[in-house]
Symmetry: C2
Subunit: 260 residues, 2 copies
């Protein structure tokens, strides 16, 4: 029997893009061209750090992850959920694309818990427990495009800073039973590179065995590791296709296809 | 024939409340007790000024209105749509009340234009042209509670700072054909005062003739004038009941009833 599920594209765009107004507008124009239901997820980490510095708050990082004290959480909420989320929404509306900016607190859409302290106390960082899809599905059916920033909540009144790649893969996993879901992680390179110094050395495909090998020899390292883990999490949860790709032509197929 | 329209309460809470965490939580608890469909509208003016000062941007005011340059608009977007809107949403979720934080750009819900320059250039201040109710009505039917901050957009990609009282009265006017609508402007006093030095000298009712008289002799002055004008705008647009009242017991009838 033919798969009759409607299509859903979940596109995650990263921090550097958000800071360059012209690039961001160009990406949003391409995003709006995607046919069918679509969700945008955006980070904005470096912008939050810049605003923290303006306010004299030094950003704390441990192993590449932001440590979120209360002051940093307030800045993140202002910059991600306020400044960038609403700029993106207003620009999408102008295209037009009927965008709705969201944190995980809105509509109780993404429930998380404060990360449990083991060796490191990450502060107000949230690990996702549940994505509530019912009202979001109705909105998608009404041609509304949700735009998520990297803030979730614990349903006890606490907002939590949450990795945007993780939000994208958890959303994709939650929608996969209802939609033929494509997940794209867009970042500054055009895909996963075999040689980090050659921007054209893009792997067309990577499966889990390849990933293990590449990781062992250091071809895949640092920030790419959690991105790959999020990609495999989505695939294990029945997401149809996952790509790690550049931000150009995001409405077309490009970059590295990740496979189980 | 009996009026069979469902009820809708639109509650506007002001700046001072937002800054006091305990008072705000108490108001939200009462707000959540309101039966039927409800919408919250919040200001936050003084908080934005405080953040502007932290960032070394001097807030500009002309005749009691904020003049919104680009830097001030960014701060307002961060503080209103980010920090305060999302705090309120996460606190309402904890009660529980299924809140959805919005600017007028989200769902293209409040369309405005940049205020036309006559004597004073108010900068990025928006005057409302249209409230788009269709998706909001579906959300209200699904027990979702919209929470609006004081930001709208022009659908050309420009966010605009918009008076929260005006947003509340325009929302009430737009929903009045579909709901039996009650509008409450909650502020630091318990109603419109006959004697500004006596907090208990609350007018139980004020009609348009009373208003003209009180304005002439200076009993009603300053910030109360635009509030009263917004109240009459709503009443002329078939809003059922309008109150100017305190923030205590907002789920009950209190304060000054405004009548045509």
């Amino acid at each position: 029997m033919k798969n009759r599920k409607p299509s859903l594209s979940i596109i995650k765009i990263g921090g550097k893009l958000i800071e360059d107004e012209q690039k961001l507008k160009s990406v949003l124009t391409q995003f709006a061209k995607i046919k069918g239901a679509k969700i945008l997820v955006h980070g904005g980490g470096k912008a939050a750090s810049a605003w923290s510095q303006k306010l004299g708050i030094a950003p704390q990082m441990i192993e590449g992850r932001r440590v979120t004290d209360l002051a940093t959480l307030e800045i993140a909420t202002m910059v991600y959920a306020g400044l960038y989320n609403k700029k993106i929404v207003s620009w999408l509306q102008a295209i037009p694309c009927n965008a709705l900016g969201l944190t995980g607190a809105d509509l109780n859409s993404i429930l998380s818990h404060k990360r449990i302290v083991k060796d490191i106390d990450y502060g107000f960082a949230g690990d996702i427990d549940l994505v509530e899809t019912s009202i979001l599905k109705q909105l998608l059916n009404n041609q509304v495009t949700p735009v998520f920033c990297a803030i979730t909540h614990d349903k006890n009144g606490q907002l939590l800073n949450t990795n945007a790649d993780t939000i994208a893969s958890e959303l994709a996993a939650a929608f996969a039973p209802f939609y033929k879901t494509t997940l794209k992680f867009c970042f500054e390179k055009n895909g996963v590179l075999e040689n980090p110094e050659d921007d054209d050395s893009i792997f067309p495909k990577i499966n889990f065995t390849d990933y293990q090998k590449h990781k062992q020899v250091g071809i895949i390292s640092d920030g790419m590791i959690p991105k790959m883990d999020n990609a495999f999490f989505a695939l294990k949860n029945k997401v149809d296709k996952v790509f790690i790709c550049g931000a150009k032509k995001i409405h077309q197929t490009n970059g590295t296809l990740i496979q189980l």
